[in-house]
Assembly symmetry: C2
Homo-oligomer: 412 residues x 2
Amino acid sequence: MALIVQKFGGTSVGTVERIQQVAEKVKKFRENGDDIVVVVSAMSGETNRLVELAKQASDDQPVPRELDVMLSTGEQVTIALLTMALIRRGVPAVSYTGNQVRILTDSAHNKARILQIDDQKLRADLKAGRVVVVAGFQGVDEHGNITTLGRGGSDTTGVALAAALKADECQIYTDVDGVYTTDPRVVPQAQRLEKITFEEMLEMASLGSKVLQIRSVEFAGKYNVPLRVLHSFKEGPGTLITIDEEESMEQPIISGIAFNRDEAKLTIRGVPDIPGVAFKILGPVSAANIEVDMIVQNVAHDNTTDFTFTVHRNDYQAAQQVLENTARELGAREVIGDIKIAKVSIVGVGMRSHAGVASRMFEALAKENINIQMISTSEIKVSVVIEEKYLELAVRALHTAFELDAPARQGD
Amino acid sequence: MALIVQKFGGTSVGTVERIQQVAEKVKKFRENGDDIVVVVSAMSGETNRLVELAKQASDDQPVPRELDVMLSTGEQVTIALLTMALIRRGVPAVSYTGNQVRILTDSAHNKARILQIDDQKLRADLKAGRVVVVAGFQGVDEHGNITTLGRGGSDTTGVALAAALKADECQIYTDVDGVYTTDPRVVPQAQRLEKITFEEMLEMASLGSKVLQIRSVEFAGKYNVPLRVLHSFKEGPGTLITIDEEESMEQPIISGIAFNRDEAKLTIRGVPDIPGVAFKILGPVSAANIEVDMIVQNVAHDNTTDFTFTVHRNDYQAAQQVLENTARELGAREVIGDIKIAKVSIVGVGMRSHAGVASRMFEALAKENINIQMISTSEIKVSVVIEEKYLELAVRALHTAFELDAPARQGD
C-alpha cells in the first residue's frame, strides 16, 4: 500500500465531465489499496476570467493581496466539485483549501513560497480512509492572508505535499504521456523515457521542454520526491523523474534533445578589452529587467573583443536599444543582432563519464553542414546556437547520432 | 463620526461597473468622516452558476460541506473586487472572508447560525483608517470548515457585524428606496415610511413584503441594531427600522398594508368534535413537510366542526391528498379547497392602544362588498383571507380607510 500524491492541472479538470473522469481514476487507485492525496488547479479558463475581472476593477493594476483573495477561489471550486464527484462514487473524501491544510507561505503575494505544511489533518483523514483533495497554487501567510504561488504553483503544491507526507510518489497528470527523448512532432522516432534524473529534467525544462514547471522539479529534487509524469486520460506508466541511481552500463550517454526558438542573439563588436567590461555591458541589460541566457566572449585581438549574448525574442528590441547606448559609451565598433536563431541542446547525466560527447555532437552537425554560432556547456548539457532554418535537421541528426531513434535503439 | 455597516446585495454588485458605483458611495461616507464596514454578497447569478456546477458533479445531491466550500467563493470574489475598486480611488481598504474575520458559526452546513464574531482585526483596521470589506453569507465552524448561512445570509452577516461592533447603524442597500405603506404598484398613493418598528417590519416581511429577510430583522431587533433600508444607486434617507420609542400622539394607527397571493385554503368539513382532532388533522400535514399559515376552527354544531387552514399554493395538491386520507380515517364529511384566495393584513404597533382597528378594517371591506373568508389576528396585525380577485380593491380601500394615502395624509 503506497501513499501517492496526484496532481491534476486546469485542462484535466476543465469541465465537470472531466472532473468525473478524474474521480474515476482516483477511485481505481483507492481500490488498489493506495492512500491518495489529490491536488487540483482551477478549471481551465477560470483564472483568466478572474484576472480579467480584477483588471476591470482596478485599472489594470490589481492589488496583489486582493488578487490572491480572488484567484484562490478558482481551486476552491475545483476541490469541492472533485470531492462531490468522489463521494457520489462511494469514495469517502474531503476537500481543503491552502488555508485549511495549513500551507504556510511567506507574504509575497502572487508569487509566495511555501514555508511549512501542517500534515496533521491530512494524516488523520488518510488514516480514516478518506481521499484528501487539496487546492493547489495557494497558501496562507502567518497573518492569515491568502497567498498564491504564481505560475505552475499547483505542481509545487503537489511536490511540497508529497515531501511533507513522505509520499511514495508524486504523480503529475498532464496532456502528454511522459517525457520524450525530443519533441515527437519534430522527430517521429522520439521515444518516451522510462526514467530521467531530476538534473536532466531541469535542463530539459529550462531548455524549452514544457512538461513540468522548473520550480516543482527543483523542489522534488531537493526533497528527493519521486515525480511521475502521466497522461490524465490515457493509461500508461509515464516517465519517472528520480535521483541518479548509477544505473547499468547500458545507460544511454544522453537522455534527450531539447530545443527552442524563443531566443535572439545580440553582439557588441570592438569593445575595449579591459576589466569590468562584461558588467558594463550586461548591467544595463539586467537593469532593464531583461533576462540573458547564453553569454559568449572570445579572446581579444588588437585590444578589443566581441561580446555576444542571447535574450528572449520579446526582449530583443529593448535589449538592442540598451546595447546601442552602451556601445556609444564604451566606444565600441557596432551592435549587430539576429532573431533567426535556434538553440539545440543535448542533455544527459551519462555525458559526465563519457569523453567526447561534445565533439560527437559537433561532428553530427558538421556532417549536415550546419554552422555553429555559439556554444555553451554544463556538466550534463551541451547547447549550441544555429541558424533557425536548420533546427529540425539538427535535432533529427543528433537524435540519430546519439542512438535515440526508436527502432535503432531497440536493436542496440 | 459614526460607525456604519453597509450591506450591498448581489444586484448592487452584479457587474464591475456597479461595484465601482458602490466604491464611490463608500468613498463619500468615508469623506464624511464615518468608519465603514461593508458586507457584500456574490455577484448576481454567481451563486446559481456554482449551484448548477455542484449539481452536475453530484447527481443533484451536493454534499453540504463541499457545497459551502464552493458557494463561499462567490462573496470572496466580490470582496476582492470592491477592495480593489476602493484602493484605486485612494481609499485604504482590506478584504476579509468569513473565516478571516473570524465569523464563528455552528456546523449546520448550508444554513449555519452565527455563534460569535471576533472584532479584533476589524477594529484595528478601522482605527488605522481602513474600510473593511467582509464577505457576507459565510463563516467557519470550530473545526475550520467553511459554512454558509443560507438564503438572505448576507443581511444577517451585516446585522451581526453591526451588533458585534456596536455600530451606529446597519444600512441595507436594495433595489427599493425604503419600506412603503403598501406596494406602490397596487396603490399609487403609497408612501415611504420614515420609520418602522422591528415588530412591524417582521409582520410586513412575514406577510409577503420582500424588502428584508425576516431573520436579519429578528436579529437586529434582538440586539437593537438600527437598520436602514436604502436604494443602492439613488440618493435618499430610506426607512429606519428601530425600536418603538413611544412616539408622539400623531403616530399612525397602522404603518402598512401587506398582502400575498401565495396561499391556498383547505377545509375539512364535518369532523367529529372531539379532543385531539386538530392534531390528527395537522400532524400528517406537518409530517409531509408542508407549512401551515392561518388556522381557523369554528364552534361546533351537531357534534361536528369545520376546520380550515392555509398552505403555500405549491403545497396545495400534496396537502389535499394528505387531508383526503385524514378525512377517511376520521369519518369526516368532505374536503374542499380553494386556491383563488388572497391574504390582506394591516400592521401597526399603533393598534395596541387603539380599540376598534379590526372593526374599522371589516367596515372598509364591507363597504366594497368584499366577503371575508378567514380572520387571524396578532397584537400588531389583523389578517383576512378574501377572494383573490378583490385583492387590489381591498388594499386600496384599506389604504384610504387608515389614512395612509399620500395627499390625504399630508392634509391630515
